[in-house]
């Protein structure tokens, strides 16, 4: 439409188009009136100088909808829209016509039934022979009528159909009485009925709720259009399709509504998705309000859009106050910056985010919370939302701090203790050194001079004197051995340990051979299991095995068919090595004394020894992180079990 943008355009120098309305010579006034009155295409009316209607033709009746008797004597502004009346348009046009001879104007006019039409109006002043204004003639053309007609002509036929068919959405046109007047292929498919069957049937028949369908098109008729009107379409085969309707009225040449153009959109999928979403949304909310954590969500840019009930309970803040960046308020001032830095970087990078921060409870108490969040991405990998939780870690945090405090205290104590131990160890070393040096020296003197007495003063001593000196010497030498054993024991604890694979089988073989060399006359049956390997210090393990196998050798002395066995066994408690003999054994009542220093279960006269050997074995095994224990019975032999690392372990 090429209507002027402004409603009023007054032409001072008009060029009348359709009608000549120059001041007429009133020669044949009657025949002129007859002519005017018979014109149907134009509303030609006469106004008195004030603008009141004094004549009304057929055209006026047709265009405006009033009959002559309804409007004669009424003011011409009757046909103007309210807003034009308010602007005093009617008066202006008359004044302009009086001044310039005529005025022309295009704009909206109102029919009797209230509908509007686009009009071209020409007003011409009528004067008497003295030049006084006698009145006005007003010729009105309905332009919209012509335009619509042109459009209708232009678009009628194939063009319209193809437009309708081009739509993939079901389209129908509905008559004023609610019957379908046309339908496209999509409508055929949606309903399952061919077009011929659809046409002239009631539109509402195709819906689960016909009343709703009727209400829909009635609303379209009333309001001119309907948007997103939800209905459920029933297919011929019975299945239901959720649709939303968009409908608009269309009009005939005269502008009267003659039908509704209704387009449906299948939203079954969308509706299912929405329902599912609704379900998951509800589930989410229930879940969010059930968990003891604070649950929240933000937009992609970090603007908060959701908090669960826990947040409200804890912070005492309203949801409204928490929206956006309102959630900042309960954060401890000392934690806010770090939290923001982490959060900002997470939002920038779309990465997950974790922070620990103190949050103020409604009563003002701060508690530690673990804040975590993860982004929700769309199909293109763009962040849509952030979901986050806050977990109360206050008690854990306090425990952590306490543990740290204890740990640092412990470390301090360990350092102090280590220093003490190192000092004690040094002292022990010094002591061991002086034992080896200084305690042995007098013994040498005692033994040495006793021997000289025995050798050089033999004649001056009787048998008893010689016996006493022999005892002195024996005791001295024994003490020498005790000192040596004691030193060996201290060395087992003090020396630095290596950790390598030690072939116990081979070691036991060597020791057995040495024992046989020391007492070649003895016959002992050895059973040494093959492939016994332990991780540890080769020297210390040799000392331990020497003691265990040496003991077995010693205590099987009286046995005719002495047997000594080294093996390995698996029990429910784990694997262990053992040395078993069939010697004199021991009474289990004294098993607790076995591993004590200088503890002996046999008289020295019976079995020599210092009582240090097993103590040494225990120290060595313990230093390797193992355990040693014994079982036996008098004359039933003895078995010593011990565990050692069997695979390399970091000390």
């Amino acid at each position: 439409m090429t209507a002027p943008m402004t409603e009023i355009s007054i032409h001072p120098n008009p060029h009348p188009v359709e009608v000549v309305s120059e001041p007429v010579v009133l020669g044949d006034e009657n025949s002129f009136r007859l002519l005017v009155e018979s014109v149907k295409d134009f509303a030609i009316i006469m106004l008195d100088p004030s603008g009141n209607i004094v004549s009304w033709n057929v055209g006026a009746e047709r265009i405006m909808g009033y009959r002559a008797e309804e409007v004669l004597g009424e003011h011409v502004s009757l046909f103007y829209p309210t807003e034009a009346i308010e602007r005093g348009l009617a008066g202006d046009l008359l004044i302009a016509a009086a001044r310039d001879g005529r005025s022309e104007y295009e704009g909206w006019r109102v029919r009797k039934n209230g509908s509007r039409f686009w009009a071209n109006v020409v007003i011409t002043v009528l004067r008497d022979e003295n030049g006084a204004v006698r009145g006005f003639s007003k010729v009105t053309r309905d332009l919209s009528e012509r335009k619509q007609m042109e459009n209708a002509l232009k678009h009628v036929g194939a063009y319209n159909r193809s437009l309708i068919e081009a739509s993939l959405d079901p389209l129908v046109t509905i008559n004023l009485d609610g019957r379908i007047s046309d339908a496209n292929t999509a409508a055929e498919q949606a309903t399952g009925w061919p077009r011929a069957d659809l046409v002239n049937t009631d539109f509402s028949d195709y819906f689960v709720d016909p009343e709703a369908a009727r209400a829909g098109y009635r609303k379209a008729f009333r309001d001119g259009l309907v948007r997103d009107y939800p209905l459920e379409l029933r297919h011929r085969d019975g299945h239901l399709i959720s649709v939303v309707y968009n409908a608009a009225v269309y009009r005939d040449d005269s502008g009267s509504v003659i039908g509704v153009f209704a387009a449906a959109r299948d939203v079954t999928e969308r509706k299912l998705a929405e329902e599912a979403l609704g379900d998951s949304e509800r589930s989410f909310r229930i879940l969010a309000d059930t968990v003891p954590q604070i649950v929240w969500a933000t937009r992609a840019d970090g603007w908060n859009i959701f908090f669960n009930q826990r947040w409200v309970e804890y912070t005492g803040m309203t949801l409204d106050a928490s929206r956006g960046h309102g959630w900042n308020a309960p954060f401890h001032p000392d934690d806010l910056k770090a939290t923001w830095d982490a959060w900002r970087s997470a939002v920038l990078n779309g990465s997950t985010y974790t922070a620990e921060a103190r949050l103020r409870r409604a009563d003002g108490v701060y508690r530690w919370w673990l804040v975590r969040s993860a982004p929700l991405f769309d199909a293109k990998g763009k962040v849509i939302k952030w979901f986050g939780t806050c977990t109360d870690i206050h008690d854990m945090k306090l425990a952590e701090v306490e543990i740290q405090r204890l740990n640092s205290g412990l470390e301090q104590r360990v350092r102090e203790r280590t220093v003490e131990l190192e000092a004690a160890n040094k002292e022990l070393e010094a002591f061991a050194y002086s034992v080896s040096h200084d305690l042995r020296t007098p013994l040498r003197s005692i033994d040495g001079f006793s021997k000289i007495l025995l050798d050089d003063y033999d004649g001056k001593l009787d048998d008893e004197g010689r016996d006493f000196l022999a005892r002195v010497r024996k005791a001295t030498q024994r003490m020498g051995h005790l000192i040596d054993d004691l030193l060996r024991l201290s060395r087992s604890t003090r020396t630095e340990m290596k950790r390598v694979a030690v072939d116990l089988t081979a070691l036991a073989g060597e020791i057995a051979a040495e024992l046989h060399t020391s007492e070649p006359a003895r016959s002992v049956q050895w059973t040494i299991a093959p492939g016994l390997v332990a991780f540890g210090d080769p020297h210390l393990l040799r000392v331990a095995l020497e003691n265990l196998l040496g003991n077995a050798w010693k205590f099987t002395g009286p046995q005719k068919d002495a047997r000594i066995e080294l093996g390995r066994e698996e029990t429910v408690d784990g694997a262990s090595f053992f040395v078993r003999d069939n010697g004199v054994g021991f009474d289990m009542a004294y098993v607790g004394k076995l591993f004590g220093v200088f503890q002996r279960l046999h008289a020295a006269s019976e079995f020599p020894g210092s009582g240090v050997g097993l103590a040494n074995v225990q120290r060595i095994v313990t230093r390797h992180g193992g355990r040693v224990w014994a079982e036996g019975g008098p004359n039933h032999g003895a078995t010593f079990h011990f565990t050692l690392p069997e695979a390399f372990q970091q000390p």
Binding site: A432, Y433, S436, H437, D438, R440, T441, P442, L443, R444, S445, D447, G448, F449, S450, K451, I452, R473, T476, Q477, M479, G480, D484, L487
Partner: protein, 150 residues
Amino acid sequence: MKNKTILLVEDNADDVKLTLHAFQKCNIRNKVVVIGDGAAAIDFLFGTGPYVDRDLSDQPAVVLLDLKLPKVDGLEVLRRIRSDPRTKHQPVVVLTSSKEEHDIIASYNLAANSYIRKPVDFEQFGEAVRQLGMYWLLLNEQPPGATDLS
């Protein structure tokens, strides 16, 4: 060779007596110089202090050196002996009560010719001293320097 001296560096009077007794028992008649502390031993070997007039060409056939000594300990005495060209070949046998590994290693590191731990049993001690004397006084060839100057 018979007039070669033995230097016994030992502060314990009992050990001195027992050592001398053992030498006597096995008929070692060589002169035994007994010195009771490390500092005096160094003076003796280098002709300093009270030994300033001593003939340094007459060095002992063997030095029997205890490690635990007053003033200067045995290892220091050994270090001084080995670090001086005049005495670096001097035969030195460490004769001590200690069986500590670090003492043994330190002694050999300073090129001790031998390391013997004094046994408590006097019979074993006597045997050790006898073998020492036999070996160092009879079997062992003296370093050329010492021989030439004798």
